[in-house]
């Protein structure tokens, strides 16, 4: 009897470990849109490198977080907006734990450090400091983010998720305020492994600026039209932040055999000859982030199997604390049969590629509209919708994705010169961002 009990006890200790062991690595999926290509011609295909974060075992320690909440308190935030923002921030505090570090920065034309970087010990005290934030003057967004970054640097560490959450409702007008400048800031912060999530509140903020900053630093972006939704968004953001399983992801794709990488869809990266380099700041538990490349597969006379590329992914496992490497190879098959080609098309990857391409078109339409070329923009959006409709039929399993895109294209086309354009543009920007970065909310 005793032996049995001991055995059971021992087993019960081992099993969770074993279970946990299974899920400890990021999953790497490399695929190509058309695994079979025709001989005798140059083929264009899409390479997808997907990374999925492993599931976090419940009740186990997650990666500690080092977060700076940067709140806009310019004059336009007066009233409900600032109150809701404070509420949302306080909610965020309540989600954090003892091992986390939080700081709160507020800015108008000057910057106040409301809560200097501190361990989340006395939540009430931190929340009461947030309560004291009052609306003020202009908008020094750049400075606010800079101060937030400074606060993060106090306790910055490799084993933490270092994140700035920026909330703004207006146009930056003190300090650098162009999307390019903020994009540059995002880039440099990403190098420091700090990512910035930007939340735009209302209809007065600059969505290009906010998305550039988030994009380059690999954070999230959200458009919150009504202040009452802020708490919800904060909750979702923190869900992401608290579920980081890997950081400092470097994806190296080496193409063989004259395979030419044409461009990267949707993400920033470097193409040098036949090498592609893409960086990601983090991967979240149970979420997939991917890199999509358009590649050219040169023609071949014989039907054979051709290795295309080697994909190597280096990352820091936030849970185990170790640096890990994933490696996969991908090949393509040459065939004479068109049928073979069609039958084997990877619907998932193809639709992802279509998604990204339609997003590119939307982006183009947006720029045309900015230049005042409304009719041309409309044309492109309508074309886009038609294409999406067609492809939806081809890939019935991916209909949902296409429907979303179709409706947003339609809405945009209709609102190109209405008074709703500001809102529509923000919605569109956010959608584009969501798809390019595979944002979860």
């Amino acid at each position: 009897m005793r032996i049995l009990t001991t055995a059971i006890i021992c087993l019960s200790f081992v099993t969770p470990w074993a279970k946990a062991d299974l899920q400890k690595h990021v999953t790497l999926d490399v695929g190509i849109s058309s695994p079979y290509v025709l001989i005798g011609q140059d083929n264009v295909a899409y390479l997808k490198v997907g990374l999925t974060g492993f599931k976090l075992a419940p009740l186990k320690t997650r990666t500690p977080v080092n977060v700076a909440i940067v709140l806009d308190r310019s004059g336009s935030m007066q009233g409900e907006k600032i109150e809701r923002a404070k509420q949302a921030a306080k909610l965020a505090i309540s989600l954090l734990g003892e091992k986390d570090i939080v700081s709160v920065v507020s800015y108008d034309d000057k910057v106040n450090v409301v809560v200097p970087a501190t361990k989340v010990g006395n939540k009430k005290r931190i929340q009461s400091l947030i309560d004291e934030v009052r609306p003020g003057g202009y908008t020094a967004l750049f400075a606010g983010v800079s101060k937030g970054a400074d606060q993060i640097r106090t306790f910055i560490a490799k084993n933490k998720v270092n994140r700035i959450i920026l909330l703004s409702d207006g146009l930056a007008n003190v300090g650098p305020s162009s999307p390019h400048a903020l994009g540059q800031l995002g880039l440099s912060l990403a190098k420091e492994r700090i990512s910035v999530t930007t939340i735009g509140l209302g209809l007065g903020y600059n969505e290009d600026l906010m998305t550039q900053l988030a994009n380059n630093s690999d954070g999230n972006h959200a458009f919150v039209e009504h202040a009452r939704d802020l708490a919800n968004i904060f909750q979702k953001e923190f869900n992401d932040v608290l579920s980081v399983v890997a950081q400092k992801i470097q994806i190296n794709i080496n193409f063989h055999n004259n395979i030419r990488p044409i461009r990267i869809l949707g993400r920033n990266g470097q193409i040098i000859g036949n090498k592609v380099l893409v960086n990601m700041n983090q991967v979240y538990s149970n979420q997939e982030k991917y890199v999509l490349l358009e590649i050219e597969i040169p023609h071949n006379k014989a039907a054979k199997r051709l290795p295309i590329a080697n994909v190597q992914v280096n990352y820091d496992n936030s849970i185990s604390g170790r640096a890990e490497i994933l490696n996969k190879n991908i090949s393509v098959n040459y065939t004479r049969s068109e049928d073979m080609v069609d039958k084997n098309i990877n619907a998932n990857i193809m639709s992802a590629a279509l998604e990204q391409k339609s997003v590119e078109k939307s982006e183009l339409a947006l720029q045309l509209r900015d230049q005042g070329k409304i009719e041309e923009a409309k044309k492109i959006l309508r074309e886009n919708t038609r294409t999406l409709q067609k492809e939806a039929k081809r890939f019935p399993s991916q209909v949902k994705k296409f429907e979303d895109l179709m409706s947003i294209n339609k809405d945009t086309a209709e609102n190109l010169d209405s008074k709703n354009w500001s809102k529509q543009r923000k919605t569109l920007r956010k959608k584009i961002y969501e798809i390019e970065k595979q944002q979860s909310y």
Binding site: K110, N112, G137, F142, K147, A149, G175, S188, Q270
Partner: protein, 573 residues
């Protein structure tokens, strides 16, 4: 008279107040500019402290970059990786000892951003090479060349078209890092010190202007290779902002203020403080940052009132007002005192005048009846005659005294008048002497009269009478021991001269002028107990002057000799 007084008092108040005001204002202005000067210095000092803080950040970066470069791997892709991981860096270039570009190597496959980087740093690399060569080579001759270049730094050129870069190179050869602690601001900023010894490890900064504004490149020469590290501009700015103060702190300043950091295009990139700035506000003072960020400035904004120190002004004005009030009060007081005294004096004179008038009428009656009795000598016995004579002479004396007082007050009121009539001086004088003789007899005095003024002239006999009465009365009082009183009249054209000489004690030189003053009486044993008001001589002289002449006392050994001159125009027959 009143206006003159007013004027005088006005001056008494205005002149001191005016001069004090002028002095005070001058002083206040001095104080003001001193204060302003000191304040601006103080503010600039504060800004310099911030500049020092920023310098430290730059210095830290240069140390980090130095170390980073030292550990830089040699393979291209490794270098690229290292650059990608360095947040402070945008790109780097590496030149070999032949000044050929080794990284990024345009002969190999490089990314678009690396290509752009090579393009925009073309001129910079060339300038850097040139400057470093001249530093190591001819030292003297190129001082001017380098200096000329240096001058350009202080005027950053305006930005140009999008694809062209316009830059100014300023190169600082920093001494090797071990000396960095002792470096003063000057040498840090300065132009290549020719006196420095260039050890094989050189490093420095280049500030250049590209379309976006100021760009900063850190360079290092090591083991034959020249490294140029283009700093990530936005990161640099962000780091600086991160370290500068935020605005929730309790500042020690007692006034609202704001300090701002401005970029090369005069845009505020960051500000902190308690003062809300309007777009049109101008800073009180500003300083450029140290090299290589000298195209950026720190500016201090504060309330305009800060520049004026109110305290000296206040105290000056307060004391001026106090002085003014005091002087005005004094002036008013004295004026009132003065007028009161004048008024009282006037009242006294009027009173006396009034009394004398009252006295004159009954006295005239007494004299009249007494003289009447005198004329009736036959009907009256000797004893009565003697008594009447006394009454007459005493009442005559009273008359004379009253006449004097009345003349005195008239003179005060400017009412003395001359009534000229035709007559003969001698006759007038004879009469006067006759009237006086009885009193003189009592004192055993005798008048010896010699009259040589027999012309018919215009004269006022009453005035002459009053004059002579006073003279004779004085002689009676003070020179009776001389026994004789000589009176001699003479005429010359329109002037009559009457000399009255006594043989008394005489008058000392000191007193000879004073006796003519009103109320003045000589104090000595001779005059003790002698009654008199001291107005006789002054009246006499005034009357003489009224008559166009004067009375003068001449010096004689044995008494007094008064010379009376009168203006008596001859009358044609």
């Amino acid at each position: 008279m009143k206006t003159k007084l007013f004027l005088i008092f006005g001056l008494i108040v205005i002149i001191p107040v005016g001069s004090l005001l002028w002095l005070g204002l001058g002083y206040a202005q001095e104080e003001q500019s001193m204060y302003r000067f000191r304040l601006l210095n103080l503010l600039q000092e504060k800004l310099s402290l911030r500049d020092a803080q920023i310098r430290e950040i730059i210095e830290l970066k240069s140390r980090n970059l130095n170390q980073w470069l030292a550990k830089l791997p040699s393979r291209e892709d490794q270098i690229r990786q290292a650059v990608a991981e360095q947040p402070d860096i945008n790109q780097i270039f590496i030149l070999n000892s032949n000044n050929e570009i080794r990284f990024p190597n345009p002969k190999t496959l490089i990314s678009q951003s690396e290509e752009d980087f090579l393009y925009r740093t073309q001129r910079l690399r060339q300038e850097l090479i040139d400057t470093l060569n001249t530093k190591n080579g001819e030292v003297q001759g190129n001082k001017a060349k380098v200096a000329k270049r240096e001058k350009r730094v202080n005027r950053p050129k305006a930005k140009t078209r999008a694809d062209k870069s316009e830059f100014e190179i300023s190169i600082s050869g920093a001494p090797s890092s071990t000396l960095s602690k002792n470096r003063s601001q000057e040498s840090w900023n300065a132009q290549p010190h020719m006196e420095q010894d260039f050890s094989p490890e050189n490093e420095g900064w280049v500030a250049w202007f590209w379309e976006e504004g100021l760009n900063v490149v850190y360079w290092k020469k090591s083991a034959g290779k020249l490294y140029g590290v283009e700093l990530h501009r936005v990161k640099l700015l962000s780091d600086i902002i991160g370290k500068l103060p935020s605005s929730e702190a309790n500042f020690t300043e007692q006034h609202p203020f704001t300090i701002s950091l401005t970029d090369s295009r005069n845009q505020i990139v960051y500000q902190w403080g308690t003062l809300k700035l309007e777009k049109t506000d101008k800073p009180l003072t500003s300083i450029p940052l140290s090299f290589p960020l000298n195209a950026w400035t720190l500016a201090y904004y504060g309330p305009k009132s800060l520049l004026t120190s109110s305290s000296p002004r206040w105290s000056i004005f307060a004391s001026l007002i106090a002085v003014f009030i005091t002087l005005v009060t004094l002036a008013i007081y004295f004026y009132r005192e003065n007028s009161r005294e004048i008024r009282e004096a006037q009242q006294r004179v009027n009173f006396v005048n009034q009394v004398s008038h009252e006295l004159k009428t009954p006295l005239t009656n007494i004299r009249m009846y007494a003289e009447l009795v005198q004329e009736d000598e036959d009907d009256v016995d000797q004893k009565t005659v003697k008594r009447i004579n006394v009454i007459v002479s005493e009442s005559q004396r009273l008359s004379r005294m009253i006449a004097n007082v009345l003349s005195f007050s008239k003179e005060k009121n400017n009412k003395l008048q001359l009534h000229l009539q035709t007559g003969i001086i001698d006759e007038c004088v004879t009469n006067i002497i006759k009237n006086f003789s009885p009193s003189l007899k009592k004192k055993q005095m005798e008048i010896r009269y010699r009259g040589e003024a027999k012309n018919k002239v215009k004269m006022d006999c009453d005035v002459i009478e009053q004059i002579l009465n006073n003279m004779i009365s004085n002689a009676e009082k003070y020179a009776s021991e001389g026994k004789y009183l000589d009176i001699h009249t003479s005429q010359d054209k329109d002037t009559t001269t009457i000399i009255v000489q006594d043989f008394g004690q005489g008058i000392s030189k000191d007193n000879s002028k004073k006796i003519f003053n009103e109320f003045y009486r000589i104090h000595n044993t001779l005059h003790e107990g002698v009654s008199g008001a001291g107005i006789g001589l002054s009246i006499a002289r005034k009357l003489a002057r009224l008559h166009g002449g004067d009375i003068v006392l001449s010096d004689k050994d044995n008494g007094c000799s008064f010379c009376i001159t009168l203006m008596t125009p001859k009358v044609k027959k």
